[in-house]
Amino acid sequence: MAIVKTERHADMPPPVTQTGVIGWMRENLFSSPLNIILTLVSIYVAWAAISSIVSYAFINANFAGETRADCTGSGACWVFIKARFGQIMYGFYPVEERWRVDVGVILAAIGLFLILSDVVKEKKWPAAYMFVFVPIACFFLFSGGYFGLETVETSQWGGLFLTLVLASVSIFVALPLGIVLALGRRSTMPVVRMLCVGFIELIRGVPLITVLFMASVMLPLFLPEGVNFDKLLRALVGMSLFSAAYMAEVVRGGLQAIGKGQTEAASSLGLGYWQSMGLIVLPQALKISIPSIVNTFIGLFKDTTLVLIIGLLDLLSIVKAGTTDKEWVGMATEGYVFVAAVFWVFCFSMSRYSVWLENKLHTGHKR
């Protein structure tokens, strides 16, 4: 006998346990005895950690004052950071010239905002501004020597400013260079491929410290008498090449994930190699590599602290140097906590941005 359904079932709202706050809590936090215990223990651990951090950093901390003598509380003494704030930000950059750094950073921040945010849709001009105007303007602003600006030697650069210069230059060089290396490694031309593989494997096989050390100590020994590159420039080249090798492998992973069908479709439409890479393959490959790319950027940002090995005074080194001051004995904890907090703010922002970007670029082919 045939069974035929004559009436259609109406749509109904989902059960209450799946929607309201109470339903959610019952479902996720208190569903079983073990779950209840875990929830309570977690709440206690979180409370203990947060309350001790808050009391160390805020409630029992000293904010007012000028000298070591004002550090009276049992918590942190932020007076130390306050007293040395200028140095921590700018290093030994002359005080009356520090506005140049501020202007450069503001110019770059505007560019970053235009490029990274959603405010401007057409990216041609922001890109030109960010990748051509800002680097040139910053170069002249920071090092001076032209347009009546006083020359500031790179040995005077330091603090957060130097850290940002190191990180941003390395990032801006590493990404395009990494893409080129990744494409080269997948090239059908044996010579190109071998060069890229050789470079990547060589650089990836040695620690960053060695690269920096080579760049700053060994390189001058091989150069003819009188030829002398700037120490910062050498560190920048070392860091950029190092991170480009890592970036190349990250991008290659993304390229690997794009099916052959995409390039075949592009070819069959008459697109050439560069068009097919630039318009079809790379946009997709880079999109799926965003988490790994940002991961590499974050690693690179923190690796800039290694320049202390070759005597550059970045954020970490300058704070470290400050803690050895005999006027400020015992301030190491405050110094390192502050440095950690600054690094965390930058790295966490990068991480959040990557999440936002992933969601924005999500075009519904993911399930």
Binding site: G261, E264, A265, S268, L269, G270, L271, T363, G364, H365
Partner: protein, 256 residues
Amino acid sequence: MSEAAKKNTQEDVAIQIIGMHKWYGEFHVLKDINLTVERGEKIVVCGPSGSGKSTMIRCINRLEEHQQGQIIVDGIELTNDVKKIDEIRREVGMVFQHFNLFPHLTVLENCTLAPIWVRKTPKAEAEAVAMKFLERVKIPEQAKKYPGQLSGGQQQRVAIARSLCMNPRIMLFDEPTSALDPEMISEVLDTMISLAEEGMTMICVTHEMGFAKTVADRVLFMDAGEIIEQAPPQEFFENPQSERTQLFLSQILHNA
């Protein structure tokens, strides 16, 4: 080749394959392929899987390289000359089994990309042309969506529209309905039939025998890298000559 024959080639013959061989490493995939396709002719290629059907049509726009023999498309011989390969690819559209739409671009962008970048058509004009073809394949309302939001049948129709936007003179179909759910096959086949009715030169690798019967001028049967038999559909289905063809037809018609 005499002057007269050469002229004839260029005017009436769309594709000419002469004594073509291809190997994958040691494996001889295509053996002595000879095929002449006239302008406006519709050819259906069938045969068991692994017989080299796809490889053969992929040689025609150089997605695969042949090692011996000649392939002449639209009067241009395929060699390693990149310029000629690009020239041929612009004239030859291809539709793939798995659609191969660009998932990061909207349907409209998928269709306008090649005209804008390869033919240097102004954006507005390319979009107008694309909309015309999307209407032809009956999905203009999906233009702003991404391929991932469309059904398989719709995606394949977008893929056909994308090829048509380049104004090809020859269309290659590589098992265009094999990856589709049964209920979506007919919408794609209808699109292909209407294209055939307009006089497009087509080579279709497909197992849709109904399509072959209605549309094809000639059906080719391939097995183990060789063209075993070619005949007009009626003859091919009612009176197949070779034993291999008879076996193949009895298998697929029995299942269908």
